[in-house]
Amino acid sequence: MSLLQVRDLKVSFKTPDGVVNAVAGVSFDLKAGETLAIVGESGSGKSVSNLAYMGLLPTAKTTITGSVILKTDAGEVDLIGLPNEEMRKIRGKDIAMIFQDPMSALHPYYTIGDQLIEAHQVHNEVDKSVSRDRAIELLSLVGVADPAERLKAYPHQFSGGMRQRVMIAMALMNNPKVLIADEPTTALDVTVQAQILKLLSDLQKKFAMAVILITHDLGVVAGSADRVNVMYGGRLVESAEVNALYKKPMMPYTVGLLDSIPRMDQGHGKRLRAIPGQPPSLITLGQGCAFAARCDRKAELPDGTCDTNPELKAVESGHLVRCHLYDRKAASK
């Protein structure tokens, strides 16, 4: 089976305004060594779905159901409902994470060395000097010059890109099987973005790990992902191998996303296309298709079709779509 198997994952928050169904039944597989991009706009559930099974959401007001099976050295483990003590041993060891804003993700009062060594010590009963050597090794792997000296530096003495490199080094301290990169380049300059993505893909091969790349930037996806999951309104709406998705996007939302990227071959003076309307409120989202209100191809379907939520169906081999436009096509296949 695959390395990580997510089945019918649902995440909801209790808020004063009502229950927010941030993730409404997401299923996907992550194979060893592959890069899976999860794409969507803010509030689509792309980050929450992954923070949820990592146990990084505040527990009191969050309900998580479904199953997330991880293949570990000790066998298969369902991460949902795992006691905190058990989950703790998986976090940072089997599954590591890097986050959006490297400026705030490192503790401002501890040196880089302290923070890297700590990440190793917590999962390995070894002498501190071993962890220190490991830290130096990883810092030089991620391209920090003079790593032994830099261990003594504090985060504020690094630039944003360098801090993200340090975060990557920290995530890789324990050779994780899965690296969840939550918008790792969003807070960085464009030139630095490219360097970080290159670094991630180099290290992925070196460490033979699977990467879940959470992003809203389809440009980032094109260069580095194997498969793409598009999320909208807490649901998976399209999933395909990366080339297939770019060549033949099916769900009108994906089409809209791709159309809204500026292109070099676009005619001069032509305006960018935007998807009209706003993302739906996850509190009032009803039974129908979440995207119906903004869909420009709704008219092609008989009235009332979009009042029911379409199923996620394989329209072509390995290309899943949640859209009524493909109902017949999928059925006839």
Binding site: R88, K93, A96, A105
Partner: protein, 334 residues
């Protein structure tokens, strides 16, 4: 490390300037009061203009304002003589002036009162830090649980009960109603005379003062911890797989240290100016009572002296805190 030294010397230079400004302002305010310091020197029934003018000259109140202030500043560093010849009164440096009403140098009055206030402030600081930080951590750790609710009740009671009421209740229930009470109802015993007596005389004042502060600190520490827990670097610590205990005890508390130290330092400095209510309730001859009596008796030199002294302590403590901050927060050492 050079950056740190430069930072410290910069900060100390600034402190001197602030002290000068503070002392000038205080001196000016009291010079503008509608009281004639010279007539106050010979009591309310005194109306002999000869004595008044002689005292005015002796105390230097016949000189222009700026010269008076200059003499005051010089006296702080070099000591000062009041009057001339055999009748001169000498106050050694640092001279804060001379109280005719109490026939004593203001500096001596302050130095008599300071150990009392220091005893009170240090003891209660230790007590309220232990209780306040401890309860704050417990409340944040068990947020929404019974411990949190209990600490909220403590905070409510502590912040709403005035210290004079807490103090009086302690005296009534632990001293008067209790036949075997080891605590005196008030008064101060110097520690070099009787260390046990000193301790016993300070316990109730410590508890009284610490009670109010501990409540404030409980609330402060709780909210600090809860706020820091939402920081990205705490999420990073969780993502590393660290245990809740290490995250709270190491990562969160390390970040909470700076604001707690700042607040404790300023509160402590403020107390050295005198805890007026607590000192009054327990009849402690500290800075608070010295100032209070000076105000009641319109003893101007003492009011000026204690005010400038208290302000100086706050300013100096601010400087110390800024320097301590450079050790706590690596980002300050630029």
């Amino acid at each position: 490390m050079n950056g740190l030294l430069a930072y410290i010397s910069r900060r100390l230079g600034l402190t001197l300037l602030i002290l000068l400004a503070v002392s000038f302002t205080v001196y000016l305010i009291f010079a503008l009061l509608p009281y004639d310091p010279a007539s106050l020197t010979c009591g309310k029934s005194c109306n002999d203009p000869g004595i008044i003018e002689a005292n005015r000259h002796r105390l230097g109140y016949d000189k222009p304002f700026f010269e008076q202030y200059w003499i005051f500043i010089v006296g702080l560093f070099a000591g000062r003589d009041f009057g001339e010849g055999a009748a001169a009164l000498h106050c050694a440096a640092p001279s804060f002036g001379y109280s005719f009403q109490q026939h004593a140098c203001v500096t001596d009055l302050i130095f008599d009162a300071l150990p009392v206030t220091l005893s009170l402030a240090i003891g209660s600081l230790i007590l309220w830090l232990i209780v306040g930080v401890g309860l704050g951590i417990v409340a944040a750790r068990f947020r929404g649980k019974i411990w949190d609710t209990l600490s909220t009740a403590f905070v409510l009671v502590g912040t709403s009960l005035p210290t004079f009421l807490t103090g009086l209740m302690l005296i009534v229930f632990l001293v008067i109603k209790l036949d075997w009470s080891p605590f005196p109802a008030g008064g101060y015993t110097a520690p070099d005379e009787d260390i046990v007596g000193w301790f016993l005389s300070m316990v109730l004042p410590w508890v009284t003062l610490a009670f109010a502060y501990a409540a404030i600190y409980t609330r402060f520490v709780r909210s600090q911890i809860i706020e820091i827990s939402t920081e990205d670097y705490i999420r990073t610590a969780r993502a590393k797989g660290l245990s809740d205990g290490i995250i709270l005890g190491k990562h969160t508390m390390r970040a909470a240290l700076a604001p707690i130290v700042t607040m404790a330092g300023l509160d402590f400095a403020g107390l050295l100016g005198g805890a007026i209510l607590t000192e009054a309730v327990f009849n402690l001859p500290g800075m608070g009572r010295l100032s209070l009596n000076a105000v009641v008796d319109i003893d101007l030199p003492v009011i000026v002296g204690t005010t400038i002294f208290a302000a100086a302590i706050v300013v100096i403590m601010n400087a110390i805190l800024d320097i301590v901050y450079a050790f706590i927060d690596p980002r300050v050492r630029v």
